[in-house]
Amino acid sequence: MAKILMKGNEAIGAAAIKAGCKYFFGYPITPQNELPEFMSRELHKVGGCFVQAESEVSAINMVYGAAGAGARVMTSSSSPGIALKQEGISYIAGAELPCVIVNISRGGPGLGGIQPAQSDYFQSTRGGGNGDYRLLVFAPASLQEAVDCTMEAFDLADYYRNPVMVIGDGMIGQMMEPIEFNEPVKRELPEKDWATVGTKGARKPNIINSLALDPAELEKHNIKLQAKYKEMEENEVRYEMYNMEDAEVVMVSYGTTARIVKNAIAALKEEGINVGLIRPITLWPFPHKAFEEIPATTKALLSVEMSMGQMIDDVKIASSGRWPVHFYGRSGGMIPTPDAIANKVKEILGGAR
């Protein structure tokens, strides 16, 4: 199939529909508006339904209901809106329901700004909502990857009975790139025999629930959830390693920032400085194993983010003290330049050579 040129937000919506998403509940917020707008135009054509909720809180709770009722369902928002959804996300994770949540993130804290940022790393990987739960979090760096991740996200959500988040910074939502829709690798998906579809008088009632008043029962549930998260850590880690051979410094960067980092790597190469990149595609599970492949030539790690330093915590954990970990970041919608990143690398290596 020939590639088509689409805007990121619409491409994600189209990918969701290709993946069998029938229901979308959302609330307007910049810079993700083209996604709910697209769904409001398209979902009814596939026998689905779009509802604009009265708030992000309601939207995620509509997702909670629809997911419990057995549907393939999605919501999208941007940073402060995702903050409002955390209550529902925690319930959905606790009740073990599948859904896909898209965050086209913007600068914070508070109302912040509307320009691209990556300051929701903690929000997406450290809970955000209450309790011991995890989301599978994809951070695509291109629209093709955003489309691929979105299509697979629905299968993964069903497979693990867990919410999956696709986080793209504002650039992913707003830019246009050529894309094609590729079917994800087929998975054996479990029957949704737990869904609220009516008993028809033929079985005991199904109950969707995250409440367990008996502490022993709740702990047992949490141990079960942890086993599932462990399985995700073993099987669903995605990352890219780039230019690692003889790297003096290894940068760690994700999303569109990683593309800027690649430009910096090319510029540094011309100056005879070899720098590698570990690009997490899943923010959770974090690609710890990528750090085992760092070559002996590497003297330091550099976390490059569009934030004041969030992923760096995971980089430090993954480094286990084996390398000094440095940070370069811009925030509030400011975009790092290849030159500034290259200068930071040179500074780490002891100045210009």
């Binding site: 229901y23 709770n61 209901g65 419990g68 009722a69 209550e87 609220t196 028809k200």
Partner: protein
């Protein structure tokens, strides 16, 4: 031997956890009886709230979904949009519906979702131990209004049915009470009507049921019924506020 009274098939065999004299049990039974009589138990999905009736999912003999505090109408919307042919209801108290869930209840009606809401108003937060609710009456003592509710400080009690009746999509709004056998019969009639309207696809229906909380009111069950009659009914008048005919 003729059977004159038995458990409705609309309820499971799980014993209620409710306090002695609490009227949640009566209301549960009425909802169960209506669902059974309408023959829709196998096609019904109920949404339980947070509050005293948080465990309602264990009692209704149909598929159930336990929502976050106040969010039952949003959860119900998600379910109904996926299964427009099923019967979907929410069961909510006054802390859940009239306080933390005001946005959700207003907008489920505003969108005219074909859903039924059973709203149990006992003028207090029961499960958390008797705090003031938006529905707590003037002068009524609660653990967070220890000197009695003061209008200058906390505003006047919220009349939910009157408010809901201003929304076009709310095609059935009725306030009833379970203080006497006669009123219990009227309550059942209202609940049945609300579900029938859903089955006819006419829009959103809500039945507000004045209920007692002997434990947190600090009264005996009988005194509670009298208190409801003397204090709640004068401020929360019983009656129908909207029928589908009027909604046109």
């Amino acid at each position: 031997m003729a059977v004159v009274f038995q458990r409705t098939n609309g309820l499971t065999e799980k014993p209620f956890h409710y306090c002695p004299g609490c009227t949640h049990g009566v209301i549960h039974r009425l909802v169960g009886e209506v669902l059974e009589e309408l023959g829709v138990l196998g096609d019904t999905i109920g949404v339980a709230p947070v509050g005293c009736s948080v465990l309602a999912y264990d009692y209704f003999n149909c598929d159930m979904h336990e929502a976050a505090h106040g969010r039952a109408p949003a959860v119900a919307t998600g379910i109904k949009r996926v299964h427009p042919d099923k019967v979907v209801f929410t069961y909510q108290g006054d802390g859940d519906l009239a306080s933390i869930g005001t946005a959700e209840i207003i907008h489920v009606a505003h969108r005219a979702e074909k859903i039924t809401t059973i709203f149990v108003n006992n003028a207090i937060y029961g499960m958390t131990g008797g705090q003031m609710a938006p529905t707590t009456l003037i002068g009524q003592k609660a653990t967070t209004s220890p000197y009695g509710r003061d209008a200058a400080h906390s505003g006047m009690p919220l009349r939910v049915s009157e408010m809901m009746a201003t929304i076009t999509g709310a095609v059935f709004v009725e306030r009833v009470s379970v203080d006497t056998p006669a009123n219990i019969r009227k309550t059942k009639k209202a609940i049945k009507k609300a579900f029938e309207i859903q089955l006819e696809g006419k829009g959103f229906g809500i039945v507000e049921i004045l209920s007692t909380c002997p434990t947190n009111w600090g009264l005996t069950p009988t005194e509670s019924l009298t208190w409801l009659q003397e204090n709640m009914i004068p401020y929360y008048p019983l009656g129908n506020f909207r029928t589908p005919e009027e909604a046109k």
